[in-house]
């Protein structure tokens, strides 16, 4: 062999099963090892979520594991650099600082942001905050939250949405990227693949020919931001032509007549055709096809569903499910009760904690976007704990969020990579990566069948990192008193075993616990009057006269856009029509290009009310004229990872949050923009 190329050592090949925790999909994976050294990740074919398939990010976990740009030991900020310290020093620093903040009566100004709220690690964070006296735990604003709010407003009671897409014969998707990573990505790939054999139709509403639109049976290019109007128009036709499920509507509905009147008056096919740009005949055709199917589902949540969207849009879409009565039926939308396998003992709280916990949260809607918009205004955050979230990159108006985070006096990150938010931390308590880490993974992401997975270590930690669960237990012990007493477990593993209770045996034995997929029993009430009430659309920022174009973010399945940063493998697969050298390409119709005197590959400046950036131009016939599409998830800084960092532009620097009037979450879906030759 050649001495300058590596010779991978041979050895015995073995496989270990675990569960991927890189996204809410939680696929079963197996790790191929040579002499105990992980070399490859493959899908677990006996796993109920993904049945053998695996996405490119999951396979790339092997690169995340060995990535030399990981944080290898606890760090503290000293002026503008980070200095390595011991775990003891790091935990002492954090414990002392949080104790001081509590003593000064500001325990309610401690906040925590995590990737999700379910599972025992987020559970430990919430518990830790409660024991210190704060009810400020925030997760990203996603479609799951908006669905919960929509279901609550329409049906009453707290439930999360499950979509039985496998058994549906007609899916009407309002921008949901079913094969772009929406919900549980691999599961939805599989469901989509079997569509033809199952005789199921997919209709995709989107201003751009996304992969989902291209794969769908029908693509409807509605003007961006008019999805709610289109849904209401379709509902109007179904009601007018008496194609709705009258037995269900009469038995369960309230305010149906008023709704029917409003739809008849304001949402005739002709009026909706004007608003949406979709022909009236097409609206009628879709309405008939939808209503005449045996198990139709209408879904909302654009792209991957990682942004919240407006409640008006979600409730208009869900209205379609309601009028055909396809709620809690096979092949319908399910209102799932909260998963309750976690059995936590009561939190012990001292007087300080009890008093502080009573205070109003920093953002009343529980929106992470809202938390940082409020920070630095009337309510200051005194300390911020960050676990698997990257608000300085992933939230709208990322620049302002970064400024807000810089103002927070004490920031603690549990990240294992130096992302944009961790860059602003004062102390870093680095966590294990997937493959080193124990963690339960409850399902979410709109699946009908719930599968709780157990992600477990298949290798000893490569660096001086800890499971964030263990870090929190040690931190609590150092803070003593009732805080320490609230965390009686020796280790995170012991805590996981105790808290998962009855489920533990199954989890630890087969690596997952799957519920059978049966629709929730019991009737469901429908309050149609809510839909009549929520009428104001969420408008884009900016004036049309200054910014004639509409910029929309696009979820590209090969680029990770949330707290997870793309791997070198993933970046390598990205088309040179999306990323060329260090330049991001925005997608426009050739007609838009002509109007703006641009050709393919030209350097151009894109400007929005929030900011501007230099990009290149990619001409694509499949996008509506006047719309500019830009991939999410590029533009990471990452100084010590040149394979991924410094490429492209972060769209969140060009877009700002828009507060939804009903949910208080960020409902931004686009922004006005202009494009000119650079």
């Amino acid at each position: 062999n050649w001495p300058w190329t590596p010779v991978p050592p041979a050895g015995e090949a073995t496989y270990d099963n675990t569960v991927c925790s890189l996204c809410p999909g939680n696929c079963g994976i197996m790790v191929r090892k040579i002499d105990g050294r992980p070399v490859k990740i493959e899908g677990r074919s006996d796993y109920p979520v993904n049945a053998g398939g695996v996405c490119l990010h999951g396979i790339s976990a092997i690169q995340y594991l060995y990535d030399p740009s990981r944080i290898k030991a606890p760090l503290k900020r000293e002026n503008d650099t980070f200095v390595e310290i011991t775990w003891d020093e790091a935990l002492d620093m954090v414990a002392e600082r949080l104790t001081e903040i509590r003593a000064s009566g500001s325990a309610d100004k401690i906040a925590c942001v995590t990737d999700q709220t379910k599972g025992t690690i987020p559970g430990l964070f919430a518990r830790f905050l409660k024991a210190t006296g704060s009810n400020n735990v925030y997760a990203m604003d996603t479609m799951e939250k908006t669905w919960e709010i929509t279901l609550e407003k329409i049906h009453g009671g707290r439930s999360s949405a499950g979509f039985d897409l496998e058994n549906s014969d007609f899916v009407l998707s309002f921008g949901a990227g079913l094969i772009e990573g929406w919900g549980s990505p691999v599961k939805n790939f599989k469901i989509n693949s079997s569509r033809k054999e199952r005789g199921s139709t997919l209709v995709q509403v989107e201003p751009r020919l996304s992969n989902t639109a291209a794969n769908a049976d029908v693509w409807i290019a509605a003007k961006p931001g008019t999805e709610a109007d289109l849904a209401l128009g379709i509902a109007g036709v179904i009601i007018k032509e008496s194609l709705f499920n009258s037995a269900f509507v009469t038995a369960s509905g309230k305010g149906f007549q008023e709704l029917a009147a409003v739809l008849g008056k304001n949402y005739s096919p002709e009026a909706v055709a004007q608003t949406t740009g979709v022909k009236a005949a097409k609206i009628i055709e879709i309405a008939r096809d939808f209503a005449r199917s045996s198990a139709p589902i209408a879904i909302a949540g654009r792209g991957r569903g990682m942004s919240a969207g407006s409640v008006r849009e979600f409730s208009a879409v869900h209205l379609l499910n309601c009028i055909v009565g396809n709620i809690n039926t096979k092949g319908g939308v399910w209102t799932l009760a909260a998963q309750d396998y976690e059995k936590w003992p009561a939190v012990e709280m001292d007087d300080l904690a009890t008093a502080a916990f009573e205070q109003a949260p920093l953002d009343s809607a529980g929106s992470m976007a809202g938390l940082f918009t409020n920070a630095g205004k009337e309510k200051n955050i005194e300390a911020l704990l960050i676990h698997q979230a990257n608000p300085c990159f992933a939230l709208g108006d990322a620049g302002s969020v970064t400024e807000a985070v810089k103002k927070i006096p004490f920031v603690v990150s549990f990240s294992s990579v130096m992302d944009e938010t961790t860059q602003e931390a004062d102390v870093i308590l680095p966590g294990h990566m997937l493959l080193e880490r124990l963690e339960d993974r409850p399902s979410g992401a709109g699946v009908a069948q719930r599968v709780t997975g157990l992600s477990r270590p298949v290798i000893e930690p490569l660096f001086n990192t800890k499971n964030p669960g263990d870090t929190l237990l040690e931190l609590a012990r150092k803070m003593e008193g009732t805080i320490g007493a609230s965390f009686p477990w020796e280790s995170y593993e012991e805590c996981l075993e105790a808290v998962t209770g009855d489920l533990w045996a199954e989890l630890s034995d087969q690596g997952y616990a799957a519920e059978t997929a049966t629709p929730p029993g019991g009737g469901v009430k429908v309050d149609f009057s809510f839909i009549v009430k929520s009428q104001a659309p969420v408008e884009m920022e900016g004036e049309a006269k200054d910014f004639p174009l509409v910029l929309v973010p696009v979820d590209n399945v090969r680029i990770s856009a949330g707290s997870l940063i793309s791997s070198p493998f993933a970046i390598k697969t990205v088309s040179d029509n999306v990323l060329k050298g260090k330049d991001l390409l925005v997608e426009i119709n050739p007609e838009t290009a002509r109007a703006n005197k641009l050709s393919h590959g030209d350097l151009a400046v894109i400007e929005t009310p929030k900011g501007k950036a230099t990009v290149r131009v990619n001409l694509f016939e499949g996008i509506m004229p006047g719309v500019v599409a830009m991939a999410k998830g590029l533009g990471h800084v990452l100084d010590n990872n040149k394979y991924v960092g410094g490429k492209g532009v972060n769209i969140n620097e060009l877009m700002g949050p828009i507060v939804d009037p009903v949910s208080g979450l960020d409902a931004a879906w686009g922004i006005r923009a202009r494009l000119s030759r650079a």
Binding site: T5, G43, C55, L56, Q63, V557, E621, K642
Partner: protein, 279 residues
């Protein structure tokens, strides 16, 4: 020496359902991870970005909103050459026998230690499946720990391409030998891309074996060098008579038409003419 693909010889091939492919890129990454394909700082110059499996995006070229797109994964076609005798375009030109046709499997090999980098094969290959190593591969410190011992990393100056994960065939054969079996089962030998594809768009197996899914899907014509008898199936640049072992399936006319460069009016004549062999 008898050199044909009939009798007991295998003819491993792949069928890719383009109506199922979603362009997700799993096959590309599964391949990179399986075969120790390196990466470098800038992978956007696609001509020197080594991707044994590459997914192309095709469009029907029609304006909005009649536009359609289709993703087309492209591994090595493992051509049988004219008459399917093993004279693949690349094999025919290699002066070093660094790339050769294996008559027992139909797989076109690439032997890096023989290759001296003349790149004739790259010029000869009509499918652009071959890549030249302009640089030595370099993994960031620590990442070489994920390299698999089953596939040797390539050095600068040699050409590389998809091997249909030949090492997996060898492993399956070894296992069968230990278990004193003559033949390996369909599921025992599958490529990394086939295994990873979340959409189930890729099917792999022995085109000579009527029990294998690939055979049933394309119904290869034994009298026309394996030309598909399924009218929805096609091979790329069929008229070159390279006889690829990678077949594509699509219900869409324009996608099948994109499999070759047809003269005006020519497609209409050939499109429903699949049951006829080569002239």
């Amino acid at each position: 020496m008898k050199q044909d693909n009939h009798g007991k010889n295998h003819k491993y091939g792949m069928v890719i359902d383009l109506d199922k492919c979603t362009g997700c890129g799993s096959c590309m990454v599964a391949c990179m991870s399986e075969n120790n394909v390196p990466f470098k700082e800038d992978e956007t110059r696609k001509k020197d970005s080594i991707t044994w499996m590459r997914v192309y995006k095709l469009t029907n070229g029609k304006p909005f909103p009649e536009t359609e797109i289709c993703y087309m994964p492209r591994p090595c076609m493992h051509c049988g050459g004219k008459g399917d005798h093993g004279h693949s375009p690349c094999v025919s030109v290699c002066p070093a026998v660094a790339t050769d046709y294996d008559h027992s499997t139909g797989i076109v090999s690439q032997i890096y230690t023989r290759c001296f980098g003349c790149r004739y094969c790259m010029g000869a290959c009509p499918y652009h499946v071959r890549y030249f190593n302009w640089w030595d591969p370099k993994w960031p410190e620590g990442m070489e720990n994920y390299l698999s011992p089953d596939v040797s990393p390539r050095m600068r100056g040699v050409v590389e391409k998809c091997s249909f994960c030949f090492h997996r065939y060898q492993q399956a054969k070894d296992r069968a030998y230990v278990e004193e079996r003559e033949e390996i089962e369909e599921q025992e030998y599958q490529t990394a891309c086939t295994q990873a594809c979340p959409a189930g768009a890729i099917t792999f197996g022995d085109l000579n074996n009527p029990d294998h899914a690939v055979h049933q899907m394309v119904k290869p014509d034994p009298h026309a060098c394996g030309k598909p008898r399924n009218p929805k199936a096609f091979r790329l640049l069929e008229r070159l008579e390279t006889n690829p072992k990678v077949y594509y399936i699509s219900e869409r006319d324009w996608v099948r038409k994109a499999g070759d460069n047809y003269l005006e009016g020519e497609w209409e004549k050939v499109k429903n003419n699949h049951d006829k062999g080569h002239e």
